[in-house]
Symmetry: C2
Subunit: 279 residues, 2 copies
Amino acid sequence: MSTTRPLRPVGGRSREVPGSGQGSATAASRVLAVLDAFGPAHATLTLSEISRRAGLSLTTTHRLVGELRVWGALERSEDGRYGIGLRLLELGALAPHGLQLRELAVPYVDDLHQATRANVVLGVRDGADVVYVEALRARGAVRLMSRIGGRWPLHATGTGQVLLAFAGPEVQEEVLSGPLTSFTPHTITDPAALRRTLAEVRRTGVAVAENQLTADAPALAVAVPVRGRGDEVVAALGVTVAAGTTQASALAPVLNATARGISRALGAPSAQPPSRRCT
Amino acid sequence: MSTTRPLRPVGGRSREVPGSGQGSATAASRVLAVLDAFGPAHATLTLSEISRRAGLSLTTTHRLVGELRVWGALERSEDGRYGIGLRLLELGALAPHGLQLRELAVPYVDDLHQATRANVVLGVRDGADVVYVEALRARGAVRLMSRIGGRWPLHATGTGQVLLAFAGPEVQEEVLSGPLTSFTPHTITDPAALRRTLAEVRRTGVAVAENQLTADAPALAVAVPVRGRGDEVVAALGVTVAAGTTQASALAPVLNATARGISRALGAPSAQPPSRRCT
DNA sequence: TCGCCGCTTTCGTCCCGCGGAAGACAAGTT
DNA sequence: AACTTGTCTTCCGCGGGACGAAAGCGGCGA
């Protein structure tokens, strides 16, 4: 803990000069670098922008983008900008823990959305992040936070705290030892506090996060675990409401009921009614 | 063919995939071939299966899969099988005509689903196919046809017929001249009949498809266009019900109302109320 | 008109990705 | 236990694809 902390190279990508011999990027990594250039804040890019963001020469970028385009990974709009193609959406939908899970859970999540009229998300863990596989917005609220495919650090969201609380120790250590990004003054950034929060989540089976992610609109997020065939936590179901409108204690029961429904559909032993035969 | 043929280079690396077009495989194409190995019927694969389906040597597959895995494009489950990773879901969600569109349309589609209690899909055109960007299932019906990321030929679905009817002539010619895959005895496979159907769709603004896709469960699909900023058709909204339960004429009004709502949200001039100023 | 910027194409060199081969490992069969 | 079959992993030499420089193209604003 008290070890000397090396200077963090701020924003500096490992600038590779040809001839320095160090780097040797692989061809596959270049393809992925092109895809990596796209992001929520950069959904469409020009060729030059891709080139710069991927750190590739314009020639290489041009060729790779051309190949990706004919395959359908990228598409070009009339104004010449490039964007992600539908082929990648099609592929991404095949993710076992992604839209496959959504497919099964969507009726339950839909009911929850209808019942609570709140923002509802279903998230799974990917590394040290939570990725939303389903997100339904409340009618009025325009929250850009929760989108399908949205990715946030585990410690800063209700669903993430659930997933982290029930994740393996090595995952928890990795998150707790790493920097805890702060999004608002209320975001938990102290490892000890986070550790206590996680213990509380494990004890109660519910995570309650207030104002962790957004500063402008005070929000209350409540989340519970969803379990799979081996009773392991495979996802987290969460709702977000404007702070003050609803108590967390009022949301927990309906959340738990919905989560249990999904868990049962997934084949979780603990969620099966005693009478029902195991398939 | 009577030209002097040099001795066949035994160790030639230009080993082509049999039947998979003409070769000169590029490195990028190999990466894409690995991704291409996955599909709805093959959501998870072993390394050898990927190797075979991609037409790559096991060595190459092993290396590429390794790179794709550390990047997050693929993930490996406990049983050793590979599947699509959440990173690709995240990327696919950035598709301008994909989940971006879904994000905007989902409240309307949701209402339609609640009102009709039917299967509802929102599809966009990608080449000669329709790709669903949103799909909501009716409570009882388990229809594997409509999933987010699902892809079907334009001529065989209600939404596809709408998209084809309003697509450019070159797209129509390509589909009409190509083979029209038959899924059921009712699937339109005659180009002339399809041409008449498309004209009817253009005239009425509604596509009605009966038993085009599924043979076992008689189904009625109704679809209408969704328009964008330039009044061009950017998507199609469709519902599917069991044949006999509802008349197409009863579904069309609510479908049109919903589609108009989405079109308005997209900024379509024809869907704007007269008072509103054009942006 | 010029210059600027982004995109496209060509081309020769070099290096990295390729497949063969062999080893490690697991599971089913005789 | 020995054999078989299938999988996954590692190592290595060679050759051809991928790379970047540079030149050509085209639109836009000064």
